[in-house]
């Protein structure tokens, strides 16, 4: 591969004098300080609302407003009766470019719903937040509008969300009991079908 050598421009005499450069730098800083001081004082008095001033957010105590189409942590939407809207069609699992979605479908007690996800896991450690799962869903069952950005954990396993955490974004592992309000067959509810990870063969 050819390497292009770039020579840095030599400093002029004026620049080499050093003190004038410091002064011009301080000029920029002072100008911003005075402008923001003036504008924030004016905003307090209800003036100059259309001129924006620099702001500092005290994150994480204070959260920044998000754009409406911002893609944050996923959630599964819920019907009026508390069952998941998801019918386990596995289109999101199919479309997912990162292969981070795992769905196992089961029989829903209502024959007009027929199918629901017994297991619905998203591995956030693998997810690329592309939003294809939201786009492909025919049931509006998955959304990325929780506004949760601080997905952090001490292990890769803890980055995996199961159906409980997805249907109720305020929950986080370790979960002690199944919080879902419909006859869900997970291990937390004492059923056979668990949210365990199946060992890959070989």
């Amino acid at each position: 591969m050819a390497v292009k050598v770039l020579r840095r421009r030599d400093l002029t005499v004026w620049e080499k004098l050093y003190i004038p450069q410091i002064a011009s730098g301080l000029k920029v800083t002072t100008a911003h300080l005075l402008r923001n001081l003036l504008l924030h004082s004016a905003h307090r008095l209800g003036l100059l609302q259309n001129r924006r001033a620099a702001v500092t957010f005290q994150y994480p105590e204070e959260l920044r407003p998000l754009a409406p189409r911002f893609r944050s942590r996923h959630r599964l939407t819920v019907r009026d009766d508390g069952t998941p809207r998801c019918v386990g069609c596995m289109l999101c699992e199919t479309v997912c470019p990162a292969h981070c979605i795992t769905i196992v479908a089961g029989e829903h007690p209502d024959p007009n719903v027929e199918k629901y996800p017994v297991r619905f896991d998203i591995d956030l450690g693998v997810c690329v937040y592309c939003g294809y799962c939201v786009e492909v869903c025919p049931e509006d069952a998955i959304r990325m509008d929780t506004g949760i950005l601080d997905v952090a954990a001490y292990s890769r396993d803890a980055m995996k969300l199961d159906i409980h955490e997805l249907m109720n974004p305020s929950l986080r592992k370790p979960l002690t009991a199944c919080m879902l309000e419909f006859p869900h067959e997970c291990r937390l509810a004492g059923g056979e079908v668990s949210t365990r990870d199946h060992q890959r063969r070989n």
Partner: protein
């Protein structure tokens, strides 16, 4: 033979054949729902409309006999328009629950809508509600809303299974497929209605919600459930182990073979694949403890080299007994004959007692082994060969010093205590098989071998047809194909076999066993080939 023109191409079609058949021979596909080559013609779905010149109205291709000079257009504007209108009627009351439906991905409503439907729906009225998720039998689930009343299932139960459970009830848009009162769809061929249903009205209860069909890979093979050897496609998933609790096979579908099973297969074969993923031997075991293949092959060969030698203590020769299995392929049986019978002079049999199963005069055979015929041709079950009971009896009497059992569970022949005694008295007791059983537990060496879907080979069915089984997916991590194990042992015994693959073994088999003469894997192909019968051998001799 009438000559007609279809889409500008001329074809001679036999008298009495229909336009859809003539088009098929030309490779022109005409959409169909109710037409099925294995069933009578109903002509009620109307989707196969074609334009016939000098005929004012569109005709249905499935029930229009060919005539001399007929000029047919299968995809003219008029024909396409007619089909689109038919599809709009068929879909008027369709629930559009494709996300839930197991058929989606292989549904002809979806396919034909995308091919030539693509209209904007105009149906603003309330759709008719019918029953959903009705279990009509042990294997089949019925959804009356998705049904387009093509009547294929009704004709199947009338004409093929001849059990007549299904009928169409009520009229107009309330017409629905259902069972006659007091009936269950529990005939031995019930799974076929799922295959022939062009939509999602009849779905498989066993496959229900397990996977989406676009996750499945398919491999052609032969059912090993009985001596009929129905041609099947195995549908499996390797990259999504969560779908079926890690099991690789999700379903089995019949594959068309005019000479064996046409379009059909029985439920026993269709749902009898569980053993391939459950209860498998996964590790080489020596006296119950873990071992490696290298140790096993070395240890077994060391004992085998002593076969035929004189035992100084008793003054008799050391003798080996081998219980082969008609579940093995011809190639493996041939290797067993060459190594054990010819080279080591062992007592070899492939006739293992198996209770005769149910049978009928259609596809189900009483002999539940896929390769009994092949074992007989190779000479492992003929009158001169002992049977498994005789070999076990000789072992118990102390006449045999080593025993190799292929897959068979000896507790079907002897009591548990006798098996324990036998295990203690033998110098060498090898069990090689796919699944764990008490015999594997008592053996000195338990070798995990590949199931028939994990290896290449051939079976000979009850009608003397040689069929390849193919290899759908690789063996489980620590198991090996029987032929590979046998070849390795032959190599250690310096028997001088130059074969490296089942294909080369088969070539040797074809040279050695007369009925296989002239056959190669290429000639057997996907649909199998008939063996040389006595008559055909004579015929070849005359010409």
């Amino acid at each position: 033979m009438p000559t007609l023109t279809i889409d500008g191409r001329q074809i001679d079609s036999p008298d009495g054949s229909t336009v859809i058949q003539a088009a098929e021979t030309l490779g022109i596909f005409i959409p169909r729902y109710c037409y099925h080559p294995g069933l009578s013609i109903a002509g009620n779905c109307r989707i196969c409309l074609i334009e016939v010149e000098k005929n004012p109205k569109l005709q249905i291709a499935c029930n229009t006999p060919v005539a001399d000079g007929m000029v047919v257009h299968t995809s003219s504007v008029k024909a396409d328009e007619g089909r689109r209108a038919v599809l709009e009627f068929l879909l008027a009351n369709h629930p559009l629950d494709c996300p839930v439906c197991d058929q989606s991905g292989e549904c002809d409503l979806q396919n034909f809508y995308m091919n030539f439907g693509l209209y904007d729906p105009r149906f603003r009225e309330q759709k008719i509600k019918k029953k959903k998720a009705v279990a009509v039998g042990p294997h089949v689930m019925l959804d009356q809303e998705r049904c387009i009343l093509c009547s294929r299932c009704v004709r199947f139960t009338d004409e093929i299974s001849k059990t007549g459970e299904f009928g169409i009830f009520n009229r107009g848009d309330r017409a629905e497929v259902g069972l006659y009162p007091g009936q269950q769809l529990d005939n031995p061929y019930s799974g076929n209605v799922v295959d022939i249903c062009p939509v999602g009205a009849l779905t498989d209860r066993d496959f229900r919600f397990k996977a989406r069909v676009w996750y499945l890979s398919s491999a052609p093979t032969v059912c090993n459930g009985c001596a009929q050897g129905c041609n099947v496609d195995v549908h499996y998933v390797l990259d999504r182990p969560h779908l079926n609790d890690g099991a690789r096979i999700l379903r089995v579908k019949p594959r068309y073979n005019a000479d064996v099973n046409q379009w059909w297969m029985c439920d026993e074969g269709r749902y009898g694949f569980g053993w391939i993923d459950k209860g498998r031997l996964t590790k080489v075991r020596r006296q119950g403890a873990g071992a490696t293949w290298e140790q096993a092959v070395a240890g077994i060969t060391e004992e085998l080299t002593k076969v035929g030698e004189r035992d100084p203590e008793r003054g008799t020769c050391l003798r080996l007994g081998v219980i082969a299995s008609p579940q093995l392929t011809n190639e493996e049986l041939f290797l067993i004959r060459e190594i054990f019978q010819r080279a080591l002079g062992a007592r070899v049999t492939a006739s293992v007692p198996m209770p005769a199963g149910n049978s009928d005069n259609f596809l189900i055979r009483a002999d539940k082994n896929p390769n009994t015929h092949g074992a007989a041709l190779i000479g492992l079950t003929d009158a001169t060969a002992p049977d498994a009971a005789a070999i076990v009896a000789e072992t118990l009497e102390g006449q045999l010093d080593a025993l190799w059992v292929f897959g068979y569970d000896l507790t079907k022949l002897v009591a548990d205590e006798d098996l324990q005694r036998l295990s203690r008295s033998l110098r060498l007791f090898v069990f090689s098989g796919t699944n764990d059983n008490p015999t594997a537990g008592c053996s000195h060496w338990a070798l995990p071998t590949a199931a028939y879907l994990e290896k290449e080979g051939t079976f000979v069915n009850a009608h003397g047809r040689v069929q390849r089984i193919g290899r759908a997916f690789p063996p489980l991590s620590d198991s090996r194909e029987d032929w590979r194990v046998l070849l390795e042992i032959a190599g250690r015994l310096n028997l001088g076999f130059a074969w490296r693959s089942p294909e080369e073994i088969f070539q040797a088999l074809a040279r050695s066993v007369t009925p296989f003469a002239g056959l190669t894997y290429e000639r057997i192909g996907l649909h199998g080939a008939s063996l040389m019968t006595d008559a055909s051998v004579a015929e070849v001799a005359v010409t």
